[in-house]
Each structure stands twice: as C-alpha cells, then as structure tokens.
C-alpha cells in the first residue's frame, strides 16, 4: 500500500513486518526514529513474541542481539556513526560467530570534529568486519532491502547491515509502497538458526581458535560472502516476483551503454547523479552510472561487466580513507585489475559531513573528467581559500590551536564582514 511517510517510520514498519523477536534500541542521530517507530509498534502489541530492550550503549545493543541470535531469536538493532564505532568489537564478533543479525545504519560522519550529518565514513570503517553491506538509494529501497536482508542474513548465517543515508533518507518524507504482512511472510520464513544455545542439545560457542584453524575459519567467511553474490541476485529476483518491483541486487546501471564516462556511486546521491546525466545527455554528453547496492561482498564481476565499454570511470566516495583517498575508489581499482583493458579511473570525494552535492557541482565534475582529467583525489567543492589561509596560519605558529575551530572562526569572520558590507 502506498504511504506518504518518513523514511525511518517506513523502515520501522518494514522491519516489524519481518517479525523480529528481539529489538535492541539505543538512540543516536540519525537512526533514532527507526527504533522509536519500532518501540511504538511493539508497545502497542502489534508484534507477537517480540521484546524491545532499551540498552545502555551501542556496544550493549549489539551484544544483546548477539546473545539473542545465538539463542535462536531473530535479532535487530540500528545505529550510526560513533555508535557503530562504539560497538565495533561486537560488530566483528557477530560476524565471526556467524550470527544473522540485521542492523540498519543511518549513515553519518564520524568525529572529530563531531558532525551529525550524512556521509559513509561509518559503513566504510566496518567494511572489513565480515558483515554484508547493502546501500539504499531511495526510501522504497531502504524498506525493501530490510526484507531482503533478513532472508539473506539467515540463509547464509551472516550478519547484514542495511546502509541508509542519514537525514537524506531517514528523515525524508516521500511515497513508499509498504508491503502486506502476507507478502513478507511468503518471502521470509521463520528464523531457523544453524547453531543455537539449547539445554537439550548443549554446545560450546565462541571457543579460542589458534593458528591451526583461524585461516580456515576466515576463509569460510570469505567463501560465504562469495556465495552471497549469487544469492543476492537470486533473492532480488524472488523479491521482484513476489512484490512486483525491482529492489536490491548487486548493482544497477543507468545509461552506461555508449557512455564514455561512467560514474560509480552508492546511496541517495545516485538520484542527483541521474538527473545530471539526463541533463548532460540533452546537451549530447553521454555519462552513465553504476549504482552499487551491494558493497560487501564487493561485486567485482558484475561491476566489471557494467564497466566493460567505459573509457573513463569516475568513483564518487562519500567518505575518506584519510591516508589513501576514497575507499570505494580503492575497491573499484582492485576490481578493475581483473579487466583486460581497464578504463581510466578518477576518484572524487563528495558530500562529507552532510555537505550538499548540488547538480551544478556534478556538472562541473563530470565535464572536468572529460576535458581535464586529474590524478589522485579530487575533493568536490573544497573551499580552497579557507584551506590556504589555515595552512598559512598554522605555518606561522607551533601553538596554532585546534583546526576545526580555527576554520569556523575564519568562516564566521568572513560572514560578519559580508554582513557589514551589506546596505542597511
């Protein structure tokens, strides 16, 4: 049924349709509305056999989910940013134990400087943890990916993160088609754990593993993620059949045929990119887009197939591997090694800490890639005046003080000067 609804509320309803049995809640912007929504649904008694647990930290949130999942319950939690890092140890632990927990990540920057707005730094910080990572482009996809995620996680017994751009998706009110309970029940069977704590069949879980077996344990995690590549496509097909719309999958392409430049990106930014592609196509410039829905496992083969005709590839990262560049670009570069004649790869960092990515900037970026290619990392819309002044200022004194505050002060002074010049 179609609803005009906030993304978080829609996701809460979709998660409830998946019949979670233990929901662990800890507030952190911008995912909070999701657990609030779930709390309301559970309090109202709309979910049978489900417990909503208000925990004292994200570390506890995922730890409670670990216990619940290991003991045979379908467990869910949500977090973002600092919260994901605070639970990092448990994130790896859940993956190592092979517990099919589903977690929503309201993608948000990581401090310092503290910043509540959207980028992908949090997902990227946990990209090697062993979780599957799915990225939603729209709120409709955010809803659908949760339903797919529970099925995917439980079939493989691998935890799955549904990554949703903070504010841009979580707080946006738009039209979402929420499925019926019967549809979800037909798609998602009850949780049947591969391992379970049970007094009638006692097992030990979480033993110490030495050098004699650790590599094999890790290899099997890798193997399962490789299996996920096929399963994600299969589950996406099944989803389309049952729900009547395409969602999920490994990746989607847009106008890649005959495109000289193909952009690779993830999440909500892809909507803006598609608008820019359309506008440029009207001017006769052909740009294509590959939207990665699945980041872990990384869909190397599917990506290379999608990029087979591209001359140039531009990867837009919404996070920064500080000493290296864009993490998505690094992953794409590794994937391109498998190609006979790989395209030229350009890397751009955009939309950090909630900085808007306007169409005009993307127009410039795409044209620049065609006429004035760069090497290394390009930072979209970087305020170079501020950077130059701050570097100069820091060069003058050892005790230059904190960077972030100095930049804010500079911007404040500029603004005050502008206001002073304005006619009263």
């Amino acid at each position: 049924m179609l609803h005009q609804i906030e993304g978080s509320k829609a996701m809460a309803q979709a998660i409830a349709l998946c019949r979670p049995q233990v929901v662990c809640a800890y507030p952190i912007t911008p995912q909070t509305h999701i657990v609030e929504g779930l709390g309301e649904i559970i309090r109202e008694g709309e979910l049978d056999n489900c417990e909503f647990i208000n925990v004292e930290s994200e570390f506890a949130a995922l730890s409670v989910a670990i216990g619940a999942s290991a003991a045979g319950a379908r467990a869910y939690t949500a977090t973002a940013s600092q919260g994901l890092l605070f639970m990092a140890e448990a994130v790896y632990n859940a993956a190592g134990l092979g517990l099919p927990i589903v977690m929503t990540l309201g993608n948000r920057a990581i401090g310092a400087p503290i910043n509540i707005w959207n980028d992908h730094s949090d997902s990227m910080a946990m990209r090697e943890s062993g979780w599957l990572q799915l990225f939603a482009e729209t709120n409709q996809e955010a809803v659908d990916l949760h339903i797919i995620a529970f099925r995917l996680a439980e079939e493989l017994s691998v935890p799955t993160m549904v990554c949703v751009d903070g504010f841009i998706l979580t707080h946006a009110v738009e039209r979402v088609d929420l499925p019926e309970q019967a549809q979800v029940d037909a798609y998602l069977p009850p949780y049947e754990p591969v391992q379970s704590l049970d007094p009638n069949d006692p097992i030990s879980i979480g033993a110490m593993v030495g050098p004699e077996a650790f590599t094999e344990v890790r290899y099997l995690q890798y193997y399962k993620q490789q299996q996920a590549l096929g399963l994600i496509e299969q589950l996406s097909d099944e989803f389309a059949e049952l729900f009547g719309r395409a969602s999920g999958g490994l990746l989607r392409t847009y106008n890649v045929e005959d495109a000289e430049l193909v952009v690779v990106a993830m999440g909500s930014i892809c909507g803006t990119i598609k608008d820019v592609i359309d506008e440029m196509a009207a001017d006769g410039v052909r740009v294509g887009l590959v939207t990665l829905t699945t980041f872990r496992p990384f869909p190397t083969e599917a990506l290379n197939a999608a990029l087979s005709d591209a001359k140039d590839v531009l990867v837009i990262d919404r996070s920064l591997d500080v000493g290296m560049g864009g993490p998505l670009a690094s992953n794409v570069a590794i994937a391109l090694r498998e190609m006979l004649r790989p395209p030229q790869l350009f890397s751009a960092i955009a939309g950090l800490g909630g900085r808007p990515v306007p169409k005009t900037s993307l127009h410039r970026l795409f044209r620049q890639a065609a006429i004035q290619p760069w090497s290394g990392v390009h930072f979209l819309d970087l305020n170079e005046r501020v950077i130059a002044r701050e570097i100069h200022r820091r060069g003058k004194s050892r005790r230059a003080g904190p960077t972030a505050e100095a930049i804010l002060k500079q911007l404040g002074q500029e603004r005050a000067a502008r206001l002073a010049r304005m006619p009263r």
Binding site: G67, E89, L197, S204, A207, M208
Partner: protein, 333 residues
Amino acid sequence: MSDLQKLKFYQKGTLTVGNRLVDEAERNVQASRDRSNSLTSGHRACQGCGEALGARYAIDAAMRASGNQLIAVNATGCLEVFTTPFPETSWQMPWMHSLFGNAAAVATGVAAAMRVTGRPTVRVVAQGGDGGTTDIGFGCLSGMFERNDDVLYVCYDNEGYMNTGVQRSSATPPTARTATTPAVGAEPGNVFGTGKFVPKIAMAHEIPYVATASVADLHDLEAKVTKAMGVRGARYIQIHVPCPLGWGAASHDTIKLARLAIETGLFPIFEAEHGRVTQVRKIRRRTPVVEYLKLQRRFTHLLRGGEADPRVARLQAIADRHIEEYGLAEAAT
C-alpha cells in the same frame, strides 16, 4: 597451649569436608552422584585454581536449581581460556563466549530469546572474572542490573587480570604487587584509596539479590546460588577465588587463603535483597590481616620491615571497617 582449648567444630554443615558429617539431604550438590559436572575435569586451569573450583560449584548448583535448564555466557578470561581449548570443551552445558566486556548484555539477549521462543523455564547465568566484571564489563553489567534482566551474574573475584599475566584491576587490593603495580618506589604495589567493591554498587541498583561468597565456604556458596536461582530478575554473586599464580601463593593454600580473607574481615560475606543487607556471615575466629598477607608473595614487600609497617596497619583498618560496617564480629557467647 597450657590451658585447655575450647574446641569449635568448624567443619560440620558448612565447610568442604563436612559432608560426611551431615545428613544426606544436607550434603552439597557436589557430593551428589547426579551433579551435572557442567564444568568437567580435564580443563587447563592451574593447580589450586580458585576460579575453577568456584565455577564448578556455582554452575552445578545453578544447574540443579534450574532442572538442568541452564545456559551460560562467559566473559573472556581465565575461565573461558582454560575451559575451551578446542577441539576440547569442559562445558557439559550450552555455553557461549562473545567478548571480554559484554557477558552481561549477551546474557540479557539469551534470556530474551528464551522468552520470545517459548522457553521461559530455561535460565541464564553470566560469568566473568573481576576484570571482565568490575572494569571492562561494568557498563553492560550496570545496564543489565538497571533493567532488572533475568540473569544471574557470577563474578569470580581473584583481584586482578590473571589471564593476561597478573595486572591490576579495580578489584586489586591496596599494596598488592601486580605487573602494573610493581613493588617499587615510594608507594609500592597498588595504591590506597582506589578500587571498587561491586557488590555494593550492585545493591545501589536495588536488584532482587546480591551476595558475596567464597570458595572457603562451599555450602554457603551453593546455598546462595540456589537462592539466587529461585528469584527472577537481575542477581549478582561475587565469589572470592584465590589465584595461586597471581597472588604468589602455594596451590595448596587456596582454601586457606579464602578462609583467611573472610576471617580477617578483608572479604565480607553477606547477602542483600533489593538493596539492603539481609544476612552476614559472622567471623568465627578473628584473625589479623598479617596472617593473610604473609602467605602471598604479592604482599612480601610489606613484611620486609617486620609487622610494624604502617601499610599493614592501614590494611588492618580496612578489614576492621568491614567488620564494623557489615557487623561481622561474632556475638560474644
């Protein structure tokens, strides 16, 4: 020893070897042929390990109380490492280890799973050492208490991080030498005025049941675990378990040291319900702390100058304060 000594029959009904002297019904769980042997033999604990002994008694008592419908969650630490060197496991029960600092939260999740999957009779115990409980696991522990989650948390308190090679924890007593509080400098060993006694903090949460116990009194330990299992909600038992390796003590002195910790007043034994102390175990034969200290190499630096070391007096003052605070002195007969 010229005067006739008044004999007290300490062992009957309370201490380890007393079993033979009491009725079968009063004998402890370990004396029973159908004890569950949840933590079975063959594990890799050191000789004289207090924790292995405490865990064996605590878990078997909890197993009996729950009709063997029990799941254990374990924090990282000695108990976890010495019991599960796979392919071997010493646990003849469903057992799980996740991380160092999250045993209480994992147990909360297991308990919730039992309810939502229609197995409300299956009970949950979480266990860890003092490091995993009073330090790194403290946030999760307090959260579990505060929510009154249906978990019995057992802390095996050996007063330090023994698994990693004897470092100081917040349960390490003042003056004790550890690898991170070496017996050098102006203030050798662990410093005075630091540390915390988690049973008191547990009581501040007003949870249904808090108790301390000791491997010196295994009847009492079992009785407390049994009592705790009869209650729903958050429960906490801190068991004093000497560590021969970490304390620099003879492995045959484990029980003796545990008993001396009680008899000196250094480790008070009591029960509390909903935040109030309801019962204390009186000291039978009050003993100066120096008797306890001199059996342990972690305190030898205190005794080099003879018993007049002012730091010994400060430790004695701590013990005396416990005796007064909890009313541990035996009433005059």
